[in-house]
């Protein structure tokens, strides 16, 4: 923890992530306008006193939509990575711990999933599941799972041959206890690092799916779908494109900085 605190970049990342989580939680109280309320008198109004970040093509407040949109982005990041972790870690542990045909089978399935580029697999899954924020999170979560299977498997393989695991086995501990009590705590650090970086990728992926119309459905606000609409008004209302993009960039950058910082702090060998 102290090593993490000493890193400026990671601290900046942590602060920005905390800021976005806070505005997502407090959205109903801090948003100056209703994010769905249209105002025909304010269509594409430039940023000013009434609308700090300007208004969109239906006269909705861009700032309020950014604040509410933070919910979709953070939720998508956290929920999809939780899905990947809860699938990937047990499967990876099985592969690494049991070895043999279980490992061979799981490894080939993982290879097959990794052969489909992450976003293209997520698009295909979201297309077949149907467009919604929940389905986008499932699609992203499943697409990101093989990375966690691989990482967990490799870590378990390394830990398995350590003396303390040999000792636990020699004492006659059951397999499940060795896996959960002796191996798991020793592979948590790299998983935390990977999960933080995966949240960054998941936030971009959710924004991408929403941009393509496969995530959060209108009129509910999300940064990706805001950018999709903004594309059509880029010459008349550039503020519609600037703020949502800047928000995605800042949130993703922060998770990346935090992930890099955690890696340096938790695992100095991986530098």
């Amino acid at each position: 923890m102290r090593r993490l605190l000493r890193r400026g970049g990671a601290m900046f990342g942590l602060a920005v992530v905390a800021f976005f989580v806070l505005i997502a939680l407090l959205a109903p109280w801090i948003a100056p306008h209703n994010p769905l309320a249209t105002n025909w008198g304010a269509v594409r109004q430039a940023p000013g006193a009434a609308y700090l970040f300007g208004a969109d093509e239906l006269g909705r407040d861009v700032l309020s939509r950014i604040i509410w949109g933070a919910r979709a982005s953070i939720l998508a990041g956290v929920v999809s990575v939780s899905i990947s972790l809860s699938l990937g870690v047990p499967i990876g542990m099985l592969a690494g711990y049991l070895g043999r045909w279980v490992d061979a089978l799981i490894s080939r399935i993982t290879d097959a999933m990794l052969a489909c580029p992450f976003l293209i697999l997520a698009i295909a899954l979201a297309a077949f599941l149907g467009p919604s924020l929940a389905n986008a999170m499932i699609a992203i979560g499943i697409s990101a799972t093989p990375v966690f299977i691989r990482l967990t498997r490799a870590q378990v393989l390394a830990a398995k041959s350590e003396d303390y695991v040999e000792a636990a086995r020699a004492l006659g501990n059951p397999h499940l206890r060795i896996a959960l009590r002796h191996i798991f705590p020793n592979i948590v650090a790299p998983l935390i690092v990977q999960a933080t970086l995966a949240i960054a990728a998941a936030v971009i992926a959710e924004a991408s799916l929403s941009f393509l119309g496969l995530g959060q459905q209108p009129p509910a606000p999300s940064w990706g779908s805001m950018l999709n609409t903004a594309r059509n008004y880029v010459d008349q209302a550039p503020w519609m494109a600037v703020w949502p993009g800047l928000s995605i960039f800042l949130l993703v950058l922060s998770f990346n900085l935090l992930g890099d910082g955690l890696r340096d702090a938790l695992d100095p060998r991986q530098k």
């Binding site: 290879d111 097959a112 489909c116 992450f118 295909a124 077949f128 599941l129 991408s208 941009f211």
Partner: protein, 313 residues
């Protein structure tokens, strides 16, 4: 070499098998009757009946998989419901556009990424190094569709130098083609440049501390020759093979970039297919992508094997 190749090929078959199951399985995710979903919004009963017979929907799942797989093995990826064309034909039609975009993006990425990586390794812990690292972080954190919109805003709307979107075939008008492709290629190359910069930096740092570089310096060689001829040449091996693995990023990025700039390529094909609920096209595109990725991966491994004599032993 032979043994390694055989081993590598032996894992290829099961991987491709699982890829096919995965992609066939996508169909099973469709809620309700697939024939109705595949028939599109009109739900023409004749079309539904035709599709049910065509996909053998009344037969058991393993048998259906077998029919589908034998089609695929004969190069038949099904037909597009919307455009009434074989999926294979559609893919081959759109592919050249994306190949041009991807090739230009890769050139830009290599030029920026390798230069930035070499500079930051040679000038480690200086302002140059920090700037290059900041660039890599920016590249990794910027959604490329946003970068695309910003570039359109600046170069097309403000300065009026480049067209905002659209595509011209290079055989019709090469200049107009390049003008339309340069922004999307830069957007697509940006993220890959960041990854290449990080790889180049770490490969160069490792090589620069090696004995033969020290010897070269001790011989009194010009620093420029040491860096470019002795160090970079050896550092390039892992960079090139890792670069081949960026193919997935390239294609994923192309989906969004082509959407922003309205370029009628491979990425736009899958997005349009998703919107038209043209599911066989979606399946075909994913299957094609995965197969190309697996092949490239194999070629990259073999290239690594060939250029690195230590691996041959």
């Amino acid at each position: 070499m032979q043994k390694y190749l055989l081993q590598r090929l032996a894992t290829l078959v099961p991987t491709l098998f699982f890829v096919s199951i995965l992609i066939f399985g996508l169909q099973q995710l469709l809620p309700g009757d697939p024939a109705i979903a595949l028939a599109g919004e009109e739900r023409d009963p004749a079309a539904v009946a035709y599709l049910r017979a065509k996909f053998h929907l009344d037969e058991p799942l393993p048998l259906r998989y077998w029919y589908w797989l034998s089609g695929v093995l004969h190069g038949d990826l099904g037909d597009s419901v919307r455009i009434q064309k074989p999926v294979t034909e559609l893919i081959l039609e759109k592919l050249p556009v994306t190949i041009q975009l991807a090739a230009m993006a890769m050139l830009i990425a290599l030029a920026i990424g390798i230069t930035a990586g070499v500079v930051s390794a040679v000038k480690k812990d200086t302002a140059w190094d920090y700037a290059a690292n900041a660039f890599a972080l920016w590249g990794l954190s910027t959604p490329n569709f946003w970068l695309g919109i910003l570039l359109i805003l600046f170069f097309a709307v403000h300065l009026g130098w480049l067209p905002a979107s659209g595509y011209v075939s290079p055989f019709e008008d090469l200049k107009a083609n390049l003008a339309a492709m340069i922004m999307p290629a830069f957007v697509l190359g940006n993220a890959i440049a960041a990854v290449l910069m990080r790889h180049t930096r770490s490969a160069m740092l490792q090589v620069l501390s090696s004995d033969y570089v020290r010897t070269a310096r001790a011989k009194g060689l010009n620093e420029r020759v040491v860096v470019l001829k002795h160090a970079l040449r050896n550092a390039l091996i892992p960079i090139i093979t890792l670069g081949a693995l960026e193919f997935g990023t390239l294609l994923s990025g192309a989906v969004l970039t082509e959407q922003v700039f309205s370029i009628p390529g491979f990425g736009k094909l899958i997005v349009d297919a998703v919107f038209n609920r043209d599911y066989s096209v979606v399946q075909g595109v994913v299957l094609f992508t995965a197969t190309v990725y697996i092949t490239l991966n194999l070629l990259a491994d073999m290239a690594y094997f060939l250029v690195n004599p230590r691996m041959r032993g």
